[in-house]
Structures are given as C-alpha cells and as structure tokens.
C-alpha cells in the first residue's frame, strides 16, 4: 500500500500531537525529532580528526609528483632533514619494506589487472599527486617548508589520459609491466539474446553519454592521526573515514601489524560521499612512520592536495542503444561502458561500474539486456565510489535514452515511461538483470509529482515560447528512477567477487539505571545516525528518546561493523538494531515473567511495560527489569544476568527506492545560461524514521546531482595536471546557484525488512542529473539538439544553439 505524503503533510502530522502516537508505527518512527548531533556541531565542540592534539605530536607532509607519468631517478631528502623542526624524511624507497601496497577489495574478474599501489611511489609516478616522499616535523608549517628542500629527479614518460586512446594500439602504458591499459572486461547479459531481439525492433536509438569526472569534495578534508605505544606495538589510528572497521582490517593486511594491535577511531567526520570509503596512502604512511618514530603523527590534507590525492568519481563513456517497437514497447538495451580507473585501483574502484550494471534497465520491462564494461587505466587520480557509485551513471543513461526514444517515436516522454515501467500490481518483479524488486509504485509517485509540478501549464508555456521564438526557452525534464540500496546481501557480494560481506552489527546494552546504549557498526559522518537509531530503539523498547545513547565509529567500543556507504545504514544497520531490540525484549520478558510469577507466554510487552494477560496490575517496566537483571538476585534458573543483545544482520535482498523527479529549466539561448525554474521530486524511500532527516538527505542529494548536470567537472590538461585543482576552479554550487526544491514522498514499504525502509542517502543524486539534462535538451530541441555533454555550461549550450545541435 502506498501512502501519499508531502513535506507539508509531514509538518502537519508532526505538529499534531495525536499523530505522534498514530497507529502507523507507534510514537517514535516517522517523527520529526530534532537531531542529537546538532548541539556540539552548532557550538564548535566537535571532534574533527584535525582537532586532535597529542603530547609530542608530529606533522607529516607529503611531497607529490608534479608529473603525470615519470620514472623516479632519485629522491634526496637530505636537504629536508637539515630544515628547522624536521624530525624525519622518507622516500618511497626508504619505506619500501614496510609500506606494503594499498588494497583493492573488488577483483571483478579472475584476470583483472591489479598493479601494485605503493603508498609512496618507489620507481615510477603515475598521476599528478602520486606521493613521492614524506617529511615529519614538529609543526605544520615546518613540515610544509621542508618539502621544498627535497630534490627529486624524474625521467618523464608519455602520458595517456583519455580512455579511448588508452585502449588503442601503440598507446603509452600506465603500467608498462602489465602490457595493457585494460584493467578488466566484464560482460553481462540478461533475458533473451540482444541481437536477436534487436532484429525484431522497429526503432533503434543510440547515444554516447559522458559521465564527466567529479570531485567528491566533502567539506572536511581528510586527516589521520596515529598514536603509537611503541613498547607494546600498539596503535590507535584516528581517521576522517567512513569505514573504521574495514580500515582496521586493511591496515593490518597492508602493514603486517597484527589486527588486534590496531584500534581505529573515526571521530566526528565531516561528510564523505564515498570519498572516505577507502584505504588511503596517508593512513598507511602515518601508521608506518609513527611506528618507526614511536611518536604520534598527524597528516591533514590541504584542499588542493585532496583534489589530487582523494579519489575522484564517475568518469565513464557510455555507448547506449535501446530498441523498441513502433508502438513504444521497449524490447532491449545494450550498454558498452568505458570506465576510467585512474592510475591505480583503490578499495572498490573496479566495482563501481559493475554495481551500476544492474541498474541500467531501471524500472522498465524489457526482453533483452546486454552490458559490457571495460575498465581502463589512465594517468589520473584513481576513481572510486562517489555518492551513488555506478547507479547515477546508469540512471542517467537510461533516463536520457528513454527521452531520446520518446522523441524518435514522437511520444510524450512520460507516456512512454508509463507504458514500459513495472506496474505496481506486478511486484515483486524480477528484472531482466535478475534482481527482484520487492515493491514500488511508480504510478503513485508520478501522479503526485505531476500534480505538484503543474505539468500542463508548463507545457503550454513551453509551446508559447517556442512559437514566439523567445530567446528564453523552457525545457521540461523527467527522471523516473530507481536504485538498489541497502548494500548488501553477502551471498550476492560473493557472487560479484567482492572481498567482504554486507552484514551489519548492532548491540543493545541495558544499563542499570534504565538508560540504553546502542552500539552500531554503521559509522556516521553527518547523516544523523544517532538520532535515527535513538528513535528506532525508543520505539522498540518504549524508553524515552533522550535515554538512548549511541556508540559508533571506534573499533574498541563498536568492535564489529561494515560501516557506512551505499545507503545501507538504516536498511542494514537500522534493521540490525531493531532485531537486537527484539532480542532484548525476549530476554527481558523471561525476567519479567519470573518477577511477576507468571508464565512467559502470558507476559505482554507494550510501550516499555511488561504486564500479565488478565491481571493488568501485575506489571514491570523494562527499566525495572534492567535493574533487577543487574542486581541478579532473583533471576530465572540458569539465566545469565544480562538482557543485553547482539545482532548481526545480513539482508536477504537489496532495497529499491524510487521516485519521480521533474525539472523545468529556462535556457537563455543567447547566453547559454541555464536556470532551474522549478524542481519537484516525489521520492519513495519506504517507511521513514525521521521525515526531516530524510528531506535533508534528498536536498543534499539533489544538489550533488544538479552540480554534475550544470557545474562540476574535473578537467586535466594535456600533461595530466588537474586544472580544476582548487575550490576556486572547481565549481561547487553555492546557495545562489540553486533553486528551491519542492519535495514530496510516497510510502511503499519495503517488504524485505521489518522496518519497511529502503534508504535515502543517494536517491537525490541518482535521480536529479538526468532530470536536469533532459530539461536542457528539451529546451534545445527546436535547435536540433538531442544530446549535450555535462556539465551543461553556458559555453556548451551556446555552441549547440549556434551549431544546430552538432557537438
């Protein structure tokens, strides 16, 4: 069943005291609780990694290659060692024995080319920003100064930057010893044979789409502090990371330091968007240098350094072909992808386009699907997961090509989608990719979005502007997207050759005073986990929201986890907490029954209180049970004195949020400037724990997707220098660049988890890019335009207008 909700209705609902205890799911779930996280963030009492100061702390700086490809002939650090305040300096050769090679956890094919990736380059640098040497000094300025005293001799090698050149004959090789720039070829097919299907089609539409390279640009730069206890061979690593648990394992594997000697803490982390879902050179370097020196070491990236040394996102060339009958039935889809790996493989670099492979068919029924991805090495910063990771790219391709198909057939683009999408009564539905979509209601989301948008009036205005040849043309763009979230069922990850599982861990501890500690392996970096977890636990256990404390981000206190990415925290981590709460209740029920001298089967639990069926006066609260269990004076025979509970939850399926996004743009055909006039989205992320947090996630996601459509691009010059290497050059949108978003929701519960949730972290980013570009192309149709590269800058738009659509 789908409930129609919008922001206004949610506000009404949470304003209405009765609605707070609506029968929907008790008092806490669906309630707009203010965030527990905000107090420290709003008063400057936040513990960012760069804030950490320890006795004897040393600062590490990294000397980076100014060349995209060169042999290292020599590195002389002696000059740096003579600089004031410098404690040590090391070249890659100096650390060769201890630095290991950075991990890639996703060997997508058995024959994938997986080059060594030393934290500091030893013989050869392969992108501008590749680390060459480190200096460790008493303060930040001294270590930065000393970098200039290091002398490196390079022998420049030819660079290869674009993917098509990289896979052509006679091209320079990024890794000479590998004999190829092709990292892997990953073919996939679903349904019937594509070519046979295409032979039956009346219409075939092909386009080439470019997913430009993006910089994730979380506001907090990366930072790491390593505190060693040298005598005990024991290390605490503080890192601005999304993945303290994975990082601990990987640091152990890379450095050989035993895993149980490493504690990783992700203190307050200021955004990630995938860029902190990695194991980075500097994390390893700070660890091995701190081990060598026996002193704490800090490294904090500068922003322009981070733009080179932190992973980039996207960077694909997509050749997409769709075939259909004359009456609009989609028969098949063929996707040939080139995916830029950059110079090395980071943690999940090759897996990103593979994750996307399953999402190209999206919400549409079709008979045949053919996909091939070629991973390509180039002399650029490695790519990896950036908000959406494969799914925005796929969604862009399918939503763009559906518009092109509609244009080819002379059909309304929404009608064509409606004809081909999975109807709400057809769920659960197995897609041509073999995924089972558990639930969805594309009709409901679309109907609502169209009503909020005022489609008819905008189409009329568009017609009038076209007829009057108004220099300001109106375009309308649609994106009816879905995504796969809740990464991920471990068996599926195994079948895709990923190196780990997709479960999440939770623990609930009942304290003697009735307060509750929730330990989660999902690691927050701005999403509001602690507020949402508190709501889930308060709802399940019937304890006050304020009485719940969350423990995350430290491998000592939250020892087990798979961390935060892929819109998984609520769908996997939240469900783990919910199940742990259920276990607490079952243990507590046994104690309560004993205390109330009743049979366990006669004891009911509601709103935090156990009572005996038929004798309402016989009751005890869960807090009283917690205290009685702590005292342990009078427990059931043989029962351990605890009602705490753990859960490690492995999801049975992905979740599939969806929605309909509608965008109207005004394109000034004289200047090429695009202005978003109206943006409406109706997202269906299933059941919602905190509607205000959900809306915030949608806003931020939309912004990053719009930024890809209109503003952002990481550009390299012919020598491989990142031209957009600072925040002055890379166009992150400001408040003035963005429209007001009209957001709404429908609620179609996920059927594969008990909370009915689907995840929301990436939805806006995945959906919005094609909505905006479809609108820009729609505005420019009268000029013969049927495609535009992103970002749709004024220059690109203007040139298309001038040239009548040829790029």
């Amino acid at each position: 069943m789908t409930e129609q909700l919008d922001a206004g209705m949610v506000a009404e609902q949470i304003a209405d005291a009765d609605a707070l205890s609506s029968p929907r799911r008790g008092g806490e779930l669906g309630r707009g609780r203010r965030r527990k996280e905000d107090a420290k963030l709003l008063t400057g009492q936040t513990n960012w990694t760069d804030n950490i100061v320890l006795p004897g702390l040393l600062h590490m700086s990294v000397l980076r290659s100014p060349m995209a490809h060169a042999k290292i002939l020599s590195v002389d650090v002696s000059g740096a060692l003579e600089m004031p305040g410098v404690i040590a300096a090391y070249s890659g050769a100096d650390l060769a024995e201890v630095q290991g090679s950075l991990p890639c956890a996703w060997p997508v094919t058995p024959d994938m080319v997986h080059p060594d990736h030393h934290p500091l380059a030893v013989d050869e640098v392969r992108y501008v920003g590749d680390g060459v040497a480190v200096v460790v000094a008493r303060d930040r300025y001294a270590s930065a100064d000393a970098l200039e005293a290091i002398v490196v001799e390079y022998d420049e090698l030819p660079v290869v930057l674009d993917m098509e050149s990289a896979i052509s004959d006679g091209t320079p090789l990024v890794h000479e010893d590998k004999g190829t720039n092709t990292c892997f070829v990953w073919p996939f097919a679903g349904g019937e044979d594509y070519d046979a299907t295409k032979a039956k089609a009346d219409v075939v539409v092909k386009r080439r789409f470019r997913q430009q390279r993006l910089l994730p640009a979380a506001m907090e730069p990366r930072a790491v502090v390593v505190a060693p206890i040298a005598a005990a061979d024991d290390y605490t690593v503080y890192s601005a990371t999304q993945i303290p648990h994975i990082l601990r394992v990987m640091l152990a594997l890379v450095t050989g330091i035993p895993e149980h000697r490493i504690r990783v803490i992700a203190p307050d982390v200021g955004g990630g968007f995938g860029s902190k879902l990695n194991v980075y050179a500097e994390e390893v370097l700070a660890l091995v240098v701190a081990k060598k020196l026996g002193r704490p070491v800090k490294w904090t990236e500068s922003r322009s350094e981070g733009f080179q040394a932190t992973i980039h996102g996207r960077d694909q060339i997509q050749d997409v072909e769709i075939c259909a009958t004359q009456d609009g039935k989609v028969l098949g889809l063929k996707v040939d992808l080139l995916a830029d790996m950059g110079a090395y493989l980071q943690l999940v670099t090759p897996g990103v386009p593979i994750l996307g492979a399953f999402m190209f068919p999206a919400i549409y029924k079709m008979d045949a699907y053919s996909f091939t991805c070629t991973g390509v090495f180039t002399n650029k910063t490695p790519t990896d997961a950036y908000r959406g990771a494969g799914r925005p790219e796929a969604t862009y391709a399918i939503e763009r090509i559906m518009d092109e198909l509609a244009h080819e057939l002379g059909r309304d683009p929404m009608d064509l989608r409606r004809q081909n999408w999975i109807k709400h009564e057809e769920f659960p539905f197995e897609t041509v990719c073999g995924l089972t979509y558990d639930s969805g209601n594309y009709e409901a989301a679309t109907e609502k979005a169209e009503a909020m948008f005022g489609m008819a009036a905008l189409r009329a205005e568009q017609k009038a502007r076209r007829e009057s040849r108004d220099p300001i043309q109106l375009g309308i763009g649609i994106s009816t997207f879905t995504e796969m979230c809740g990464l991920a069922p471990s068996r599926v990850l195994g079948s895709l050759s990923y190196g780990a599982g997709g479960w999440e861990a939770a623990q609930i501890r009942m304290l003697p005073t009735g307060k509750v500690e929730v330990v989660s392996g999902a690691t927050p970096h701005g999403q509001g986990h602690h507020t949402s977890w508190s709501q889930i636990v308060a709802d399940a256990l019937g304890v006050p929201f304020e009485d719940v404390e969350c423990v995350t981000g430290d491998t000592d206190s939250s020892p087990k986890g798979m961390d935060t990415y892929g819109s998984r925290s609520l769908v996997v981590g939240g469900v783990a907490i919910h199940r742990a709460a259920a276990k607490v209740i079952e243990k507590a029920r046994r104690v309560a029954a004993h205390l109330l001298e009743a049979a366990e089967g006669d004891v009911e639990f509601r709103s935090g209180t156990f009572s005996v069926k038929g004798s309402p006066e016989a009751k005890t609260t869960i807090q009283e049970v917690a205290l009685a269990t702590f005292a342990a004076h009078n427990l059931p025979e043989g029962m351990e004195p605890t009602i705490d509970a753990d859960c490690v939850y492995d999801p049975e399926n992905f979740s599939f949020p969806h929605g309909t996004h509608l965008c109207a743009v005004e394109v000034d055909t004289e200047t090429g400037f695009t202005k978003i006039r109206k943006y409406v989205c109706v997202d269906d992320v299933g059941k919602v724990v905190n509607p205000v947090i959900v809306e915030g996630q949608v806003h931020g996601g939309l912004t990053q997707g719009i930024a890809q459509a209109l503003y952002e691009e990481a550009i390299h010059d012919a020598a491989g220098n990142l031209v957009t290497g600072t925040m002055a050059d890379y166009l992150l949108p400001t408040a003035a660049d963005l429209p007001h978003f009209d957001t709404g929701r429908t609620e179609t519960a996920s059927t594969t988890n008990p909370l009915g949730v689907k995840g929301v972290g990436e939805a806006g980013t995945i959906a919005s890019t094609p909505a905006v570009i479809n609108a820009v192309v729609d505005a420019l149709r009268p000029f013969g335009v049927n495609n535009i590269d992103m970002p749709a800058t004024p220059e690109r738009v203007w040139r298309l207008v001038q040239s009548g659509g040829s790029r």
């Binding site: 203010r34 905000d38 008063t43 930040r140 979380a218 922003r303 806003h699 978003f741």
Partner: protein, 182 residues
C-alpha cells in the same frame, strides 16, 4: 616574530607569532580554539569564518598579526553572547537555534562559518528576502544540505531577531534537547 594580543570569545591572548601565520592557524594551533575548522586553501569555502569586531571574515585570509588588538568571536563564543546581539550568557544565538530547528546542518563542518556569516548578514539586513539570503551566503560552501534548510533557518532567525518570532520549525518535537548553553 611579532607580539600580538587579541580577545577571542572574551579571553585576551598574548602571543609571539610568525608574520606569516594565518589567523585560523593561530586560533586552532596556538590558542586551541578548534571550533573553527579549515575547509580549503583558497578562501572559497568559508568554513573558517569568524567575526572580527562583529564583521564576518574568513580567518584563512587574515594573518594573525592583522588581528592584533581585535575582538574575535568564533562559533565557540557565539552562545555566550560575546558577539552581536547581547544574548544572555549561555543562551544559543537565534541563528544557532534556527539552524537546529530547521535542520540547517548535516555533517556540521561548514556550520561554524555558515552561522557566523549568517549573523553578519542579518546584522546588515534585518529583513532579507530568500534571494538575498542565498546571495549573502554565496561565500560559504556546504556539501550536505543543498542550502534549502540553511536559507530557511536564516529567514527564521531574521524573523526572531526582528521580534516577530521564529518561523515554524521543521522539527516539531517538544523536548528541548539543547538545553541552555549546551
């Protein structure tokens, strides 16, 4: 080295500084006032915004020596009423309250700068339009919120500072989680 004296959030600090030391590094590394973060190295992001004599300044674009003798308010001092509006000691500034009430922050890294830029904006323009708020905050980047709730929060704080009461909040729970001077 140059001797400087500055009042930061109500405390006077006297130090010897290198002439090249940026104010933000002085605040963070010498004075331990780490509530103000650093988000870039080109004065674009605004995360390090503080108030110098009530005016918002990106503290990465000022040398510590230039702040000699100045009155500086960081996010850590705003709640104490050292800043602009003579708030009672311990109360959050209306802009801080509005940011929470309207979910104007997620990861919170841009928040100190965004809040102080907003305080300055409202000191210059008590009744800004939505568009004026958007343009007024152009020098402060946020990667999480899409700005919509920040804009809402600033408009709400403006209303409250004008004595017209805050705008209806997005979060409408009754309990005051923040307490006084949290």
């Amino acid at each position: 080295m140059t001797r400087v004296s500055m009042n930061v959030d109500g405390v006077v600090y006297e130090d010897e500084v290198e002439s090249r030391t940026l104010l933000i590094h002085h605040l963070r590394e010498r004075l331990g006032r780490v509530g103000t973060p650093i988000g870039c190295d080109t004065s674009n992001c605004g995360a390090c915004t503080v108030l110098i004599s009530g005016e918002s300044v990106k503290s990465c674009s000022v040398f510590a020596v230039q702040a000699d003798g100045e009155q500086i308010t960081t996010i850590q001092g705003l709640a104490d009423g050292q800043g602009v509006n003579g708030e009672a000691v311990g109360q959050w500034h209306p802009v801080q309250r509005a940011f929470q009430q309207h979910h104007g922050l997620q990861c919170g890294y841009c928040t100190p700068g965004m809040v102080l830029a907003a305080v300055d904006l409202l000191a210059r323009n008590a009744s800004p339009t939505e568009d004026e708020v958007r343009h007024g905050l152009e020098g402060n980047l946020c990667r999480c919120t899409g700005y919509q709730n920040i804009v809402k929060a600033v408009l709400s704080a403006a209303s409250e500072l004008r004595g017209e009461g805050p705008l209806p909040g997005s979060f409408q729970d009754s309990a005051d989680l923040t307490g006084v001077g949290a």
